[in-house]
Symmetry: C2
Subunit: 505 residues, 2 copies
């Protein structure tokens, strides 16, 4: 019997007809069952008379399947497989955990520290290899990437492959997919999986505007495309669905279209991959129950950067879901204001978002003689932010928490963690020379005499300096604990300083 | 024929049975019609065998009506009235205008500058008179006030009247209203109308917790109460429905209850008064289409007050509706952290919210030997914020706009107005000594050579000082206009300074 690891990848390949239009003429699905559980999974045509059905077993033990098709050859084919324990680096799909955070299906925490390479799979094979090598040597565990190629400033080269049969730039038969295009996409997503990276797959985007017409195929072709990609990709455990980048800039679709595509995807994806939609100007209604987390673009507010934390937290409070600031501007030197953040500004945003109980995505936009810019095409990273982001990522991992939480809703915005055991405060552009040792006390019980270790973190220079003396807490007022013999922490008076406070007894 | 002014108040009074329980036994309504328009309005029992139907004609001309009742005496009574032009101070109901702002039905702008006197109608007659006198002498044009009495710290006195038949504190017949209670409430709402003040009427609140039990009457009694109050009050043009104060602190009701009460009210109120709900910790889903505007409590974040503007604006972007920060803490000296804002802090919040395209509500909590605290009971105002709030209100009125709008979405948070003609910048706790003269230019056309008058506003000292020279704009870069011969504005280097920039040619 086939042995497939849990959250692994089962593929049934069947020979069938290749005449007519197999993409539209042939329906194919299979019901996979184990005990009382049964899942109906759609198959797809992969060209050359080959039909495939893919399945990701989410529970160990025997699974059996039977196909269903309007084509005799493909109908009523049965088989089974044994789902075995996952291998060491397979933790399953990432899902929402503790309302505002994420974890793999096996319970391992997942902290999204993503990056952005919108069109990396549409570049030369050599450049794609370089991108993968760069990803391997950096900390990013999620990549925002588009299915469709991108036509935009600094990104005007044609891809090698196109998703449909036809002739570039805009003579396509939207009823016929190009399986080679999708096989290539899948191969690259599998390489990301091997690197432990989630593919935050952008299904639609506005960077087309009549060049290829993939942003304006119409409802019927869009539905077919979504179903095809769900059939092909939903058994890849590292796929997230990002319904669109800057959905509101896609002028050919309206809010109802997006609601429909989101509903279709949520309904037809049996494995419930994370599902989000990213905006340009107009925030989507992320209360839509099909949306698993709010994927947000937020202008960078240069010059008022220290105003961020209360702001970043607020959308969490408004949506009651995890929030990922998937676009906050890029480290680089482009003329566009979103494309010339300093590394300090970008790293500061990462810290602000963590302190707000949310997450941020990286991107880099340094000009390049051949326009090989990470944000669009991948290649190499040249900025100073990635290793500081890794430093933060390690701090978050070391917290032992699933994610940092507000300490005192509405009233504390520069600190997060878990009351009583772990506190992380961050001062952004402020340069305090001392910090009043005060921990939140309102409706929070910490026993008198509990001792805390304080460490001073220089987030830019990536140093962690312990304060020698321990802090023992006493009551101060109805809202605060303090330390009577040691009421302040001396700080270096520089920007970008954080404090880590951990209970030791 | 009866002559009733537009948005005025028509009342049909009918004699009927007083035996049994007229509140539950007798159904009464009337259909009011004009041309093709017909509105079915519920009547109510006002005690002593008197039944009433109230109507607010919203269109001039003849209206006719016919009653419907399960009681022969009250059934099929017809009549008519002539709706005439409104009198000078009658501008109709306040409604949402330009998506994020408000206007009266006749198109007159309405800028909500409200205050908070939760339980003023439940105090002694003398104190109520004093409250009205204070309101008359201040600028507030909206009052947050509860229907039910309030039992809370600094607010433990019993009211003179109760909404139901029975015996205080908690022996009530929820099937029988006390008409006298409601007549008194109406009288006070009418007095507010005469003062040009909107009654932001709080229908439920958690400040009861078993004392009277009005927070836990059950779904059936709650529905009956809402229908009774809609029948009585929806013909008062200055009524806003605030479904609850701190809805999430009412432990006896769940989200589905609130959704239901909101839907009932939106459906049964033929006149579509503004309808909101105010939270403690958990923001309501203000995307609910029945909600007309987001009524928000936001912790005051003392010590990080300058972080507010991007934050206050964000909920507007998230909800796509007007936002009123109906609770931001109070000017006063209570021990609770929400009750001891300085006047400076509160006035700062008003400015921040206006610059964010939103609105804020005032409240005052100075301790008093007899606990006569404005926020709960009314009386007199002792704080320093009201006249500064009035100063701001006049500036907003003088803008000639329906409300200040963001100048450059996401990228400018310290200024608002209308690009090309009117700009208001505000520096909060910052103390800049000069301001770079830069106006937003991205996708905004202002003709080269346009001239602007600049005024420096001291929001605390309430002065407006014009800068002598005019500023003529030239292109600077893709995002900014500047003035080449006069690139900065000299500022006083104090806190709470604003700039008003108006086009003069």
């Amino acid at each position: 019997m086939n042995e497939i690891e849990r959250w692994g990848f089962f593929e049934l390949s069947l020979d069938g007809p290749s005449d007519g239009n197999p993409f539209t003429d042939i329906s194919l699905s299979a019901v996979f069952s184990q005990d009382n559980k049964a899942l109906k999974i759609n198959g797809f045509y992969d060209g050359n008379g080959i039909y495939k059905i893919r399945f990701m077993p989410t529970k160990e033990g025997n699974w059996s399947y039977t196909t269903e098709s309007n084509c005799e050859e493909l109908n009523n084919i049965s088989g089974d497989m044994l789902c075995i324990s996952p291998s060491e680096n397979n933790h399953g799909l990432v899902q929402v955990h503790n309302q505002y955070h994420f974890a793999y299906a096996d319970g391992t925490p997942f902290f999204p520290f993503g990056t952005t390479c919108y069109a990396w799979v549409h570049q030369s094979r050599e450049l794609q290899e370089q991108t993968l090598e760069t990803l391997k040597n950096n900390c990013f565990n999620k990549v925002r990437m588009c299915v469709f190629p991108k036509s935009y400033s600094n990104n005007s080269n044609e891809p090698e492959l196109y998703p449909f049969e036809g002739t570039a730039p805009c003579d396509w038969d939207f009823t016929k997919f190009n399986p080679e295009f999708f096989r290539h996409l899948e191969q690259q997503i599998l390489k990301l999986m091997e690197l432990g990276i989630e593919a935050d797959l952008i299904l639609f985007h506005p960077y087309d505007k009549g060049h290829w017409g993939f942003d304006s195929m119409g409802r019927e072709a869009d539905d077919r495309y979504l179903n095809y990609i769900i059939a092909r990709l939903s058994s890849f455990r590292n796929v997230w669905w990002s319904m669109a980048n800057e959905y509101d800039y896609v002028k050919e679709k309206c809010k109802e279209d997006w609601d429909h595509y989101i509903e279709l995807t949520a309904k037809n994806d049996c494995f419930h991959h994370l599902l989000s939609i990213h905006q340009g100007d107009v925030l989507y209604d992320h209360w839509n129950p099909n949306i698993t987390h709010a994927s947000i673009q937020l202008g960078t507010l240069r010059g008022t950067v220290s105003a961020g934390m209360g702001r970043l937290k607020l959308l969490r409070d408004a949506y009651h879901k995890p929030v990922i600031y998937d676009e906050v501007g890029y480290e680089g030197n482009l003329i566009q204001r979103w494309g010339h953040l300093s590394a300090e500004e970008l790293v500061d945003k990462f810290w602000q978002s963590i302190i707000s109980g949310t997450y941020t995505t990286h991107g880099e936009t340094f000009t390049h003689p051949e326009d090989i810019i990470w944000w669009a095409k991948g290649g190499t990273l040249r900025g100073k932010s990635p290793k500081r982001i890794e430093f933060l990522k390690n701090i978050v991992k070391d917290s032992g928490l699933y994610g940092l939480e507000p300490l005192d809703r509405w009233w504390v915005i520069d600190g997060a963690g878990k009351n009583g055991s772990y506190y992380l405060y961050y001062f952004s552009y402020e340069k305090p020379e001392k910090w009043k040792f005060e921990l939140p006390a309102f409706k929070i019980d910490v026993p008198m005499g509990a001792k805390f270790k304080v460490e001073i973190i220089d987030t830019w220079n990536m140093t962690i300096t312990p304060v020698e003396e321990l802090y023992e807490i006493t009551d101060k007022d109805r809202y605060h604990y303090t330390c009577s013999y040691n009421p302040t922490v001396t700080l270096p008076g520089r920007e970008f300083i954080a404090l880590r406070i951990k209970r030791v007894s």
